[in-house]
């Protein structure tokens, strides 16, 4: 991969995106637009940690779909490196997308219950790099990744339903890491997990960052988690980006409605608990 513009990995220019609404019956071929995101400008630089926060329904998931090349925006352009991905055919697009590691939201629905963990982990290698990789190399790669995310090797032979929520999330992270991504996209990585496991995952993500320094794009509605993982924060409200900046600055001087609410609640919290940590 030749990088002509090393300063960013992902760049969104004036993206307006949304869905086509399908009416029932034979008219289903005539569709109307429903806009979810308006004029989004965003860039993710190398080794940067960004959190996208917003209340539920504010368009966070749609933004992810746009970045992942799954939803063509109505207008605007999406660059990954210098490629405008929606100008490329699907096959070419996928080749570029391999540099993005995606960890979906719900670990209970994101693993195919019919496949063993080792087959799940091999999958990204199969299509992307299979020609260059030998069977033994794939195997050792998978093993090392499993070790990296802190799972025992016996997990490889197990089916997802034998794993707990935390282990599943680790498997998903491992799967995202297999193709050695430059960007790691995390969609609510802890919302389906318990507190005791949540911390494990947060630490794991931080460890991975320390080790490989990938750019991290975290999508969450929980500011406390964003604060533990990200440096920069982007707030989406009412289809638009309303606030952007370093997380500490934003917390101390919130501008948007969402942030004001969130910060006031955390201040109360701090006062009421009177906890010293």
């Amino acid at each position: 991969m030749v990088m002509k513009n090393p300063e960013y990995i992902i760049k969104l220019e004036n993206v307006t995106a949304g869905y086509l609404i399908t009416p029932p019956g034979i008219r289903s071929l005539i569709k109307t637009r429903y806009i979810v995101l308006k004029n989004i400008n965003l860039s993710v630089n190398k080794s940067e940690r960004i959190a996208i926060v917003g209340s539920s329904g504010s368009g966070k998931t749609t933004l992810l779909k746009v970045i992942l090349g799954l939803l063509k925006p109505f207008s605007g352009r999406v660059f990954i490196y210098e490629y405008d991905i929606y100008r490329l055919p699907w096959r070419e697009r996928v080749k570029i997308l391999k540099k993005i590691g995606y960890v979906p939201q719900d670990p209970f629905k994101s693993l195919n219950p019919m496949l063993r963990v080792k087959d799940i982990l091999r999958e990204p290698l199969e299509a992307h790099v299979i020609r260059g990789y030998k069977e033994s190399k794939i195997e050792s790669k998978v093993k090392s990744i499993v070790k990296l995310v802190g799972l025992p090797e016996k997990v490889l032979e197990m089916y997802p339903e034998e794993l707990s929520g935390g282990m599943r999330q680790r498997v998903l992270i491992a799967r995202a890491l297999v193709s050695e991504p430059e960007v790691l996209i995390l969609d609510e990585p802890t919302s389906a997990l318990d507190v005791s496991v949540q911390a494990q995952i947060i630490n794991l993500i931080n460890d991975i960052y320390e080790q490989f320094k990938p750019a991290i794009l975290l999508v969450t509605h929980d500011l406390s988690i964003a604060q533990y993982i990200a440096d920069r924060i982007i707030v989406i409200e009412n289809k638009e980006i309303v606030e952007e900046g370093l997380i500490d600055n934003v917390l101390s001087n919130p501008q948007s409605h969402f942030m004001k609410m969130a910060v006031s609640s955390y201040k109360d919290n701090k006062n009421k608990l009177k906890l010293e940590f």
């Binding site: 911390a199 494990q200 500011l223 406390s224 919290n269 701090k270």
Partner: protein, 320 residues
């Protein structure tokens, strides 16, 4: 001092394919009238089953053992269950997911009408009057009466549900994860609302949650539940400041707090699977302070007045 809830070795379980799974494995708990108790635990620790047992919405095929008393009604006595005159009149339930708990074909006013009719055989006028009285208390104006659930936001739906629970004037309110379907920044509002209502109406409030910090701001007592048993009970301040069970301590250290940036200390391992019977301490596998005596089921240790812990080392507390 009146005891609102008394549990004596309460067990609740289900039969799944001829095998008995006890979700609640023997709980002893006493709740005074007019106090707030938070039951905190991870998913699958049996806290929702406990809530169902208190409110009387256990499925008919559930198994029970032990004793549950609500005021002077014995509700569960061994395998016998008698919830006559309890549901709605003594206990009220605030469900987890407000979106699916309201009938999409009924307006808010009709919800009030049906709830009150089934409890008091009242007419529409009366139910409307009651609704008008209660809605301001939950920070809603009377215009929502004519609306259907989908026209309300998530927070408003949750408040309607709380209002419905208040409408029947039940003494015990049980809120099952009242904030888990609400965005993080709105959670505190709902929790505060619940706390205010509890104080105002002098209700006994049971909040079931896994969110230790946000929720516990309103409670008088905290009970830490783990794998079907209560690990530690005590007044809020004491449990949070002076945890006498390693699990409580570790939970506190693992929870991210906004504005406080420190490295989180996760609890190693996973909770034990539901249904298995253990002779040893349930927390044994994940406990860094385990020793020989931990291989037998720990007795309840009294730390001080109304602060109990189920750990052999509660008194020494090497983690403090």
């Amino acid at each position: 001092m009146v005891l609102a809830i008394v549990m004596e070795n309460l067990k609740v379980g289900y039969i799944i394919e001829d095998e008995v799974f006890w979700a609640v494995k023997g709980v002893d708990l006493v709740v005074e009238e007019g106090t707030t108790l938070c039951i905190i635990g991870e998913s699958g620790c049996g806290k929702s089953t406990l809530a169902s047992a208190i409110t009387g919405i256990l499925p008919p095929y559930a198994l029970t053992d032990g004793k549950l008393k609500l005021f002077d009604h014995v509700v569960i006595n061994g395998q016998l269950r008698n919830y006559n005159g309890i549901r709605g009149k003594i206990t009220a339930y605030i469900p987890q997911n407000p979106g699916t708990s309201l009938n999409p074909f009924l307006t808010v006013e009709e919800h009030f009408y049906y709830v009150l009719r089934s409890n008091f055989k009242s007419d529409r006028e009366f139910s409307k009057k009651i609704a008008m009285e209660i809605l301001p208390k939950v920070n809603l104006d009377s215009s929502v009466l004519e609306k259907y659930p989908h026209e309300l936001s998530g927070g408003m739906q949750q408040r309607v549900i709380i209002a419905l629970a208040l409408a029947t004037n039940a003494q015990i309110l049980v809120a099952d994860e009242p904030t888990s379907f609400i965005d993080a920044h709105l959670r505190l509002q709902i929790i505060e609302l619940l706390g205010r209502l509890q104080r105002e109406f002098k209700k006994t409030l049971i909040v079931i949650t896994h969110d230790l910090l946000t929720t516990s701001t309103i409670c008088d007592y905290i009970a830490i539940m783990y794998a079907g048993k209560i690990m530690e009970v005590g007044p809020r301040e004491k449990v949070l400041r002076n945890p006498r069970h390693p699990y409580t301590k570790m939970l506190l250290e693992t929870t991210p707090i906004l504005g406080v940036k420190k490295r989180l200390k996760p609890i190693p391992g996973e909770p034990p699977s539901l249904g298995k019977e253990y002779q040893a301490c349930l927390f044994l596998d994940r406990c860094p302070y385990k020793s020989k005596e931990c291989y037998s089921d720990p007795q309840i240790q009294v730390i001080e007045n109304s602060h109990f812990s189920k750990c052999w080392k509660a008194l020494e507390a090497p983690w403090l």
